[in-house]
Point group: C2
């Protein structure tokens, strides 16, 4: 196992940080590493907004489900999927922006995720811990207004970065045999793999919480996909120009 | 600059590979590194299908716009955003799957992208080159049928991996000042940054092609977002259970 693979495999989300700030130089380097990721047709649809203002960070923390580390982490970034910049370039050349395509939405979303994950790897290589904040989609309209986002830009997730003040265990994942398939989508052994993982995760939660958390993957999934999730997202996206044509 | 950052910044897509195959052991390690990425609410919505069959790879190459390296690279993986597995787990627990939410579509798409980018970093650390294949969305229905994808699973991109038989230059990116913003979305200097980048990219293309390719970013963007792109995606996704509620 080479050091890069070791680093990737040692990831866990960090939610407690020391007071040490993260320097501008490091943030620049981390965001530049994100830019180095592959980008579909060179669209570079990722825009990163660094929020320093304490009041604004506290507002975002509250809007994201009360995640205090959004305000307290060494640095807080908002990753946006940005089709406004390609639109600007298109119009510079006399073109007319084809707004609202589902395909463009996918390209921009994937672009931002690839860039963010490169940034995360860079940050972790520098000794920082990170936590993605999907909770900024709890109230995306308010976030978009706080950040002054133009149409065709949406806030996809936040990213907390800082020097770790905790050392949590690495969370086990589904068996490789369940997620890596050969030639086609064969799932005759998936139920068995999920059951084995359920037991592994149950043990992990018990050991981590001194026995107080009793859950497993299938129970988590029932909670996640067994009900509506952020049902405002379609209308929000549509209002921002992502009408999913 | 530490070795991880150096690795991330040295990325360029590879489209010519030696004949050396990529071992199963490496592919397993690479996919396991993908699993180690952050995953929204632990959903682990990424499924990777390795295609070895030569005829099938040639079909996928043809369906993806005639990209021959899809068939010839040391390994070819298809990354899928998979809500079928969480559905299975939800139903194991007596829950009822809430199909077609836009939010679940975003979660699954981001999940697959984060996993893929970790896999790419792992692969490049092992001396492999990679190329993402967004072209599998040219004919997603045919790809889904070839791979036997169930409902609520869609093929998001392919990934070619192999030992590089070329050493292309690193493509320049937009200025950091354009993509990293402070406090809110300020873009008063973006036009200037885009124009500077246009010139840089024009020089890069000329030098790389001996003067035959004369293009720049804004021209590329006009070609990309100045017209419809894969207008079949909405109906395809809807038919697969992603109705964007």
């Amino acid at each position: 196992m080479n050091p890069v693979i070791q680093l990737l495999k040692s990831h866990r989300s960090i939610r407690k940080f020391t007071n040490q700030p993260v320097s501008d130089e490091l943030i620049n380097e981390i965001v530049a590493c994100g830019q180095a990721a592959a980008t579909s047709s060179n669209i570079q649809a990722t825009t990163v907004i660094r929020v320093r203002n304490v009041e604004k960070r506290e507002k975002i923390a509250a809007l994201s489900g009360g995640q205090a580390y959004v305000a307290s982490a060494g640095a807080f970034l908002v990753y946006c999927a940005d089709l406004h910049r390609p639109q600007l370039a298109c119009e510079m050349q006399g073109g007319q922006f084809s707004a609202g395509m589902t395909e463009h939405f996918i390209i921009a979303t994937v672009d931002a995720a690839l860039a963010a994950q490169n940034s995360v790897t860079a940050a972790e290589s520098l000794g920082l811990g990170i936590c993605y904040i999907g909770g900024i989609r709890n109230h995306p309209q308010e976030i978009a207004e706080l950040l002054g986002l133009p149409d065709h830009v949406y806030p996809i997730f936040g990213l907390c970065l800082g020097y770790p003040a905790q050392d949590p265990e690495i969370k086990p994942r589904l068996p490789l045999s369940v997620v890596l398939k050969e030639e086609c989508y064969q799932n005759q052994n998936d139920l068995e793999g999920i059951k084995a993982y359920d037991e592994q995760l149950r043990t992990y939660y018990r050991s981590r919480t001194g026995g107080t958390k009793d859950s497993c993957w299938s129970v988590e999934m029932k909670g996640l996909v067994g009900k509506e999730s952020r049902p405002h997202m379609r209308d929000f996206l549509s209002r921002r120009g992502f009408s999913m044509k």
